[in-house]
Symmetry: C2
Subunit: 340 residues, 2 copies
C-alpha cells in the first residue's frame, strides 16, 4: 500500500480507503486520485494482506466449519460433503472463506473448544453434542455460532431439518401403501434428529390407528453394519414387519443387505424407506425411497444466517430456521403413489 501511495503521491490512508470502497469515514478521495490509485494497484499487482486487515479490524472474513469426528460414524456419509458444499458456496458469495476444523472423537469438546480462536469470525457446527463446551468457549470469545442439526439450545443460531415431519411423511407413505407392520430402525442415540423422527413415526402410526409394538423400534447408529444387524433381528421375529423405516440411507442399505441375506425380496416381502436422500440412495439396488433433507440447503442457510448476524444486518431474534423435508420415491417401497 505504501508503494502505491508513494507512486500516486498520496497517503496510505487514502489508498486503504479507496481500495476497500470504505463507507463511513471522514476521509474523501477525488475521482482523479481514486482512478490513479486503482491504476497503480493494478500495475503493481497489489494484493492486500488479509492478516494485517484482520488485525486492524478484528474481522477475518473467515467462517469456521466444524464437523464431528469422521471416523466415529459414517466416514462415508455424503452428508458432510454436502454440508460443506452448502456452507462454502454461501460463504464465498459473501466474500468469506471457510476454515475446516474436524474434531476427532477423542478430542470431543474440550480439545475442540481449544482450537477456537480469533482466526474465525463465526463458527458453523454440525450436529454438535448437547451442551458441548464449544458453545461456552465461543461465547467467551464472542464468536457467534450456527449449529446445524443440533439439539435446541440457548445461544447458538440454529438450523434444523423438520425431522418430525420427516418421520411423519415417511410412515404415512408406508401406511398408504397398505403396510400395517412397520418397523423403525432408529438413528444414533443422543443425536438431535433421532427423537423427532421416531416421534413422527409413532404419531403417523397412531394416526392410522395402528398400535405400535415396542419391538418394532430397533437400535441403530446411522451405520450400514448396525442397520444390517438390527434388521436381521427384526426379520427373525415371529411376526416380522412388512416395512422398515430407517433413520438414514446408510442403515437402510444395511437393511437391504440383511433382507437379501435372509432370502427375502425388496420391496416384495419387505419395503425399505431411507432418510437423507443423498446420492447414496440412488446407488443401492433397489434404489431407496428416502426422505430428502436438503442437506446442502442446511449448510447454505447456516452460513447465511451466521454472516447476516456478523454483518449486524437486522438482529433478527428468529435465530432458528427449520428447513422442510420432502419424500423422494424410488424403488425400495414399490408403489408409485402419492407425493407428499
Amino acid at each position: 500500500m505504501s508503494d502505491i501511495a508513494k507512486r500516486v503521491g498520496t497517503s496510505v490512508a487514502a489508498v486503504s480507503v479507496t481500495l476497500n470502497g470504505a463507507k463511513s469515514t471522514t476521509l474523501r478521495v477525488s475521482d482523479d486520485t481514486r482512478k490513479r490509485i486503482f491504476e497503480v494497484a493494478e500495475e503493481l499487482r497489489y494484493k492486500r494482506n488479509p492478516m494485517a486487515g484482520a488485525l486492524a479490524t478484528g474481522r477475518t472474513q473467515v467462517l469456521g466449519l466444524m464437523l464431528p469426528s469422521q471416523d466415529a460414524y459414517a466416514a462415508h456419509d455424503p452428508f458432510y460433503s454436502l454440508v460443506t458444499t452448502g456452507v462454502t458456496a454461501c460463504a464465498s458469495t459473501h466474500g468469506y472463506n471457510v476454515m475446516l476444523y474436524s474434531a476427532t472423537s477423542e478430542e470431543e469438546g474440550d480439545r475442540a473448544a481449544s482450537m477456537i480462536d480469533k482466526r474465525v469470525d463465526g463458527l458453523v457446527l454440525v450436529s454438535p453434542p448437547k451442551g458441548t463446551p464449544i458453545f461456552a468457549e465461543c461465547q467467551r470469545q464472542g464468536i457467534p455460532v450456527a449449529s446445524i442439526l443440533g439439539e435446541p439450545e440457548e445461544g447458538p443460531l440454529q438450523i434444523r431439518s423438520d425431522d418430525y415431519q420427516g418421520g411423519l411423511i415417511a410412515t404415512r407413505y408406508l401406511v398408504s401403501l397398505g403396510h400395517r407392520r412397520i418397523a423403525h430402525l432408529k438413528g444414533r442415540e443422543h443425536i438431535a434428529t433421532t427423537q423427532p423422527r421416531l416421534q413422527g413415526y409413532l404419531d403417523a402410526l397412531k394416526e392410522a390407528g395402528i398400535a405400535p409394538e415396542s419391538e418394532w423400534v430397533v437400535p441403530g447408529d446411522f451405520n450400514r453394519e448396525t442397520g444390517r444387524e438390527s434388521t436381521v433381528q427384526l426379520l427373525r421375529r415371529a411376526n416380522r414387519p412388512t416395512a422398515i423405516f430407517a433413520a438414514n440411507d446408510l442403515s437402510a442399505h444395511g437393511a437391504l443387505e440383511a433382507i437379501r441375506d435372509e432370502g427375502l425380496k425388496v420391496p416384495g416381502d419387505v419395503a425399505v424407506l431411507g432418510y437423507d436422500d443423498t446420492w447414496y440412495a440412488t446407488v443401492t439396488r433397489p434404489a431407496l425411497t428416502s426422505v430428502r433433507m436438503h442437506i446442502e440447503e442446511l449448510g447454505r442457510r447456516a452460513a447465511d444466517l451466521l454472516i447476516r448476524h456478523l454483518e449486524g444486518e437486522a438482529p433478527t431474534r428468529d435465530t432458528e430456521i427449520i428447513v422442510p423435508v420432502s419424500l423422494t420415491i424410488r424403488e425400495s417401497c414399490g408403489g408409485k403413489a402419492i407425493s407428499m
Copy 2:
C-alpha cells in the same frame, strides 16, 4: 499478553517468547518467571491472537486446500472427502489449519488464482489442470504448492499415484482370469491420471500377446451416466468384450447398470473392474473389484511434503512422490485368484 506481562511484572516480549517456546532468541527467561507466566496465562484464559502473530511473522500456519469444481464431475465422488481427510489429519498433527477453496468451474484458473493471498502458507491443489495460472500466481506470491494427481510440471511439489501400475495390474488380473477381449472405459480427458492408466492397460495387453482393438477403448469422464452410455455402445458391438476396466468406480457403476439393462450378468457375462476403491466399490451389486489408490494417503503425503518444505526441513530435491497402488478383489470379476 500485555495483561499477563503486567500481572507477572515483566515485559510483553518475555511473555511472547515464553508462551511460544521460542527457540533462537537472545531473550532468556528464568524458570521462575516462566512458571508464573504460564500460571497467569492459564488464569486469564489467555488466547493468542493468530492474526497478530501472522502479521508479525509472515506465517499463518494455514494450508489452503483447493478442490476442483465439484459440480463439474463427480460431486458424489468420495475421493474429495478422502483427500480432505488426509490433508486435514496431517496438517493438524503439525499444528496447521486447513482452509477450503473450491474453485467452481467457471472461475477456472484466473478466478481461482485471484483468491490466493497471504492467508495461507502453502497450497494443496487437487488434480489441477495442466499449467493453471494458479501455479504462476503462487510462485509470484512465494506460496509453495503441492499438487495431487497433477500433470508433471515444473515448480510444484507433486504427489501422484502410480496410475500406470494401476492400469497394468488391473488388466493383468483380468487376463489372468482368462479374459481376452478387455475394454477400457477411459477417464476424463486432460486429467493426468487418464493417460497412464490407459498405457498400463495397453502394455498389459501387449504383454499377454493380445492385440488391442481400438474400439475397445471408449470415452468416459468419471461419471456414472457416461460410464453407462459408453458401456451400452460397447455391448451392442458385434463381438462384445468379456471384461471392462473402468477408470473409476463411478463409471464402473454405470457400466454395471448398463450391463444389467442389456440383460447380461456380472461377472458371468461381463466382468467389471473399477478404480479408486473408495467405499463406493462396496455399495454396488455386485461389489466392485477395484484398484486401490490410497487416496487419504495422497492427501496426507501432500500436506506432509508441503509442511516439511515450509519448515525448511531438508530442502529435498525429491519433490515428487509416487504412491503405490494395490488391487482389491471383490465380486465384479468373479475369480478369487491372485493378489498383486
